[in-house]
């Protein structure tokens, strides 16, 4: 039997004005388990807390009920008080007789009656309370960042600077991601390489950062603070630690006809290659799909010319296993395929390109050496049409495209238009738009400059059809404000393709038990208040894998994710919320219902041997809750048909005791 103390607060006149606190204290004195019941002006004051402290000590109380304001206000206060008096803090229950009683009722008699009932319910509950101790788990003080674009690099740098080791896993031979492919960046127009490559080098040289390039995450086990991850290091047939990156092999390789993915296949590279001059790590990689040596066993030119003897045709994929305390997803985005939008003739003409391809055409390190030349004939285009929102903002019922706004297209299109007019003032530039969306610091000013200073023709309307005729692209479009249909003879058409999450995100989310939305963007723990955390504890989100983002936004989110990771890794042990679910394995059927509703992947199953009531032994599959991962929502408790699953602090018996007390 519990020994319960009841403390009724006047809260000045806030409670005492409509509730007869003395009558409440008196009425509750005779409830089961109550040994002392008293009232005081301000329970939350030091004097009030001292009073509770004393009462616990003097009466050897095992539980207390405070009839006062909302538990959202002072539950933590009274729990501390209890703890200071040697009582388990979870032996405290609050009856909310202010917000939910005295403040909403006017009649003293009614208010008093209700306060007594609320007090009874709290007493009924506390009678069934058990001391709870938050579980503690150790934290592996190392982070894993999946994806080596600007988001991943920035997150890794920030974590590493705080003194924690970080691994970056990047599936490509180099880090850098999409930003490495860009020419200039809006709204400042500084060159992407100039601001990105120093960060890439910094990451490579940082004592706390290890870059696992040309590698993929294969399996993730564990939970917050204690993840075990399998990483596959793909064979690059070049010894990474020996290769000096001199590039001789990439010049001598006889296989010259390999589409160069870094330049979006607008030119070719060799079968052994370094993606671009500032690649990190700057080591060569052999493409096994094209290498003659690997395919036929005849060639070996690269091995012959390599003075460092770094070529190793016998290399195999390697699997490594590492432990991490936190994981950051930074898997980024890709432009969608333009195949379903062939009214724009992307597959019919080389001179219809995507914006990312345009970046490469403008880039000094690109296939044209930075000269804006048409892919078809290498001539200067004189009329360029930009089409915005290709595949963005489509209805869910339309047969193609994405429902969301891709967010970055308005700004990069303005940038492209402006740069074109800046370099080639004799070019006519049209931008077809539905809306120009420029919320961001100095963004609208930037767009206005494109219009006002650079004379870009912004046309409100959409292109309906692009027809390649001769060496021209006939663009048929609407000009809604002029109420006209335009027919423009263009030399180049640039499509602002919608962006979508990288294909690797979905399988990664499955491994992480992190949730995703219907578009395969990672879901955040809370859309406003916890935007860089996944609902799965210990998993954080950085960059466009959470939603379309530009570079400034990506970098700030990357920093925020890093701060959250640092906050986690700084702890030696993780203290959980003790109000977590627990399964009674004697009653558990192992049916997986609870596992299916758990938003956190906190439930796993083990097969154990049990001695059955009929004295046989049997192997049974039973649920186990990982208390470090469980957040205590209770969804599993209702999904469980046998009642094996219960929630500490909000046990079925406790809630039913409250129901009984209220309905008495």
């Amino acid at each position: 039997m519990q020994r319960i103390g009841v403390f009724v607060c006047h809260c000045g006149t806030n409670i005492a004005g409509t509730v007869d606190v003395k009558a409440v204290a008196e009425a509750l004195r005779y409830e089961p388990g109550v040994v002392i019941s008293t009232e005081y002006q301000y329970m939350c004051s030091q004097a009030g807390q001292d009073m509770i402290h004393e009462a616990i000590r003097e009466n050897n109380l095992t539980g207390i009920v405070v009839c006062s304001c909302s538990p959202r206000m002072h539950e933590a206060t009274f729990r501390k008080t209890a703890q200071s008096a040697g009582l388990n803090p979870y032996m405290v229950e609050i009856a909310n007789i202010r917000e939910q009683c005295s403040w909403v009722h006017k009649d003293m008699e009614i208010g008093t009656e209700k306060a007594i009932i609320l007090g009874r319910a709290a007493i009924a509950k506390v009678n069934l309370n058990a001391p709870l101790t938050p579980g503690e788990t150790p934290v592996t003080k190392r982070a894993l960042v999946i994806g080596g674009g600007i988001a991943g690099i920035q997150t890794a740098l920030d974590i590493a600077d705080a003194g924690f080791p970080v691994d970056i896993v990047e599936t490509k031979p180099t880090i850098g991601g999409k930003m490495a492919q860009l020419d200039k960046t809006f709204p400042t127009l500084d060159c992407a390489a100039c601001i990105l490559t120093p960060k890439m080098v910094e990451a490579a040289q940082h004592e706390n950062i290890r870059i696992l390039s040309y590698s993929e995450v294969q399996d993730i086990k564990g939970f917050v603070g204690n993840f075990t991850v399998q990483i596959k290091k793909k064979a690059r047939y070049v010894k990474e630690d020996i290769c000096t990156g001199c590039g001789l092999c990439t010049e001598k390789c006889p296989q010259k006809k390999v589409p160069n993915e870094f330049n979006l296949e607008m030119d070719n590279r060799r079968a052994i290659y370094i993606p671009f001059a500032q690649a990190v790590p700057k080591v060569a990689t052999i493409d096994p799909n094209y290498c003659t040596m690997l395919k036929t066993g005849k060639c070996g030119v690269c091995a012959k010319v390599c003075t460092a003897k770094a070529i190793d045709y016998t290399q195999k994929d390697e699997i490594m296993e590492e432990k991490y305390g936190a994981i950051v997803a930074a898997t980024g985005f890709n432009p969608i395929s333009m195949k379903p939008f062939d009214e724009y003739a992307y597959s019919q003409s080389k001179d219809v390109i995507t914006s990312l391809e345009f970046e490469r055409l403008m880039n000094a390190a690109g296939p044209t050496g930075g000269k804006l030349l048409r892919p078809s004939d290498g001539k200067h285009p004189h009329t360029i049409v930009f089409v915005q929102c290709v595949g963005s903002r489509c209805s869910a019922h339309a047969s193609k495209g994405k429902e969301y706004c891709s967010k970055i297209c308005c700004m990069y299109t303005a940038k492209h238009a402006m740069l074109t007019r800046d370099k080639y003032p004799d070019t006519d530039v049209y931008v077809f738009y539905i809306d120009v969306r420029t919320p961001g610091k100095n963004f609208d000013e930037f767009y206005r400059r494109a219009v006002e200073e650079y004379g870009v023709h912004y046309v409100k309307g959409m292109v309906g059809k692009v027809s390649p005729e001769g060496d021209k692209l006939m663009v048929q479009a609407s000009d809604l404000l002029a109420d006209k249909q335009l027919h423009i003879e263009a030399d180049l058409v640039v499509l602002a393709a919608a962006i979508e999450p990288d294909m690797s995100a979905r399988p990664l989310a499955t491994m992480l038990t992190a949730s995703m939305d219907t578009n395969d963007f990672f879901t955040e723990a809370h859309p406003k208040l916890r935007p860089v955390e996944s609902p799965t504890a210990g998993v954080f989100l950085s960059g466009a894998c959470q939603g379309p983002k530009d570079i400034p936004e990506t970098v700030s989110q990357a920093g925020a994710a890093a701060a959250k990771v640092i906050g986690l890794l700084a702890k030696d042990k993780l203290k959980g919320n003790p109000c977590v679910a627990g399964s009674d394995e004697w009653m558990c059927n192992g049916c997986s219902s609870c596992e299916r509703v758990c938003p956190y992947g906190a439930i796993t199953y083990v097969t154990k041997e049990f001695r059955m009531p009929d004295r046989t032994t049997a192997l049974r599959r039973v649920a186990q809750v990982n208390e470090a991962v469980c957040q205590g929502c209770g969804a599993c408790t209702v999904a469980c048909p046998s009642g094996a699953m219960d929630l500490k602090g909000f046990a079925s018996s406790q809630i039913m005791a409250e129901v009984d007390a209220i309905c008495k």
Binding site: Q100, W103, A635, M656
Partner: protein, 144 residues
């Protein structure tokens, strides 16, 4: 045949993050609603087991209302989606057994909707008062 005015017993389950906070806000703004409503705090609406609801009726409740975060806003991301399915099916079943459908309700109340909380409770109490005492799901042993 009631001698005194009928005062219904109403049990309101409120999730800790949205609706309980919404009820607190109603209090902060001194928005009145009937004292017949007694709130039980649960971490999430998905913690509410149909057994709790039947238990309340058994013990003499005349109406049970369940409040949670708006769909899409659940603190635990998906809890209220499960609540929605469970209660849709449970309420339909209770009504299939002839229990008045007005006796049970689910309402989404956010932490900012103090006014909605008070209005909902006023409305629900009025509805139950008009409906009268719960006779179809009571347990006579539990009645005085």
């Amino acid at each position: 045949m009631q001698m005194t005015e009928f005062k219904p017993k109403i049990v309101a389950f409120c999730c800790n993050w949205c609706s309980y906070a919404g009820a607190d806000l109603a209090g902060n703004n001194r928005l009145n609603y009937p004292a017949e409503v007694k709130i039980i705090r649960v971490p999430c609406s998905c913690r509410v087991n149909p057994m709790f609801i039947l238990r309340a009726f058994q013990r003499g409740a005349d109406g049970v209302i369940l409040c949670g975060c708006h769909p899409g806003d659940c603190h635990y991301t998906s809890g209220n989606y499960y609540t929605r399915r469970r209660m849709a099916l449970l309420f339909s079943m209770l009504n299939f057994l002839g229990i008045e459908k007005e006796r049970t309700r689910v309402e989404w109340v956010s932490a900012a909707e103090g006014a909605k909380f008070a209005a909902t409770m006023n409305d629900f109490v009025a509805q139950i008062t008009a409906l009268g005492e719960n006779k179809r799901l009571e347990d006579l042993r539990c009645k005085k």
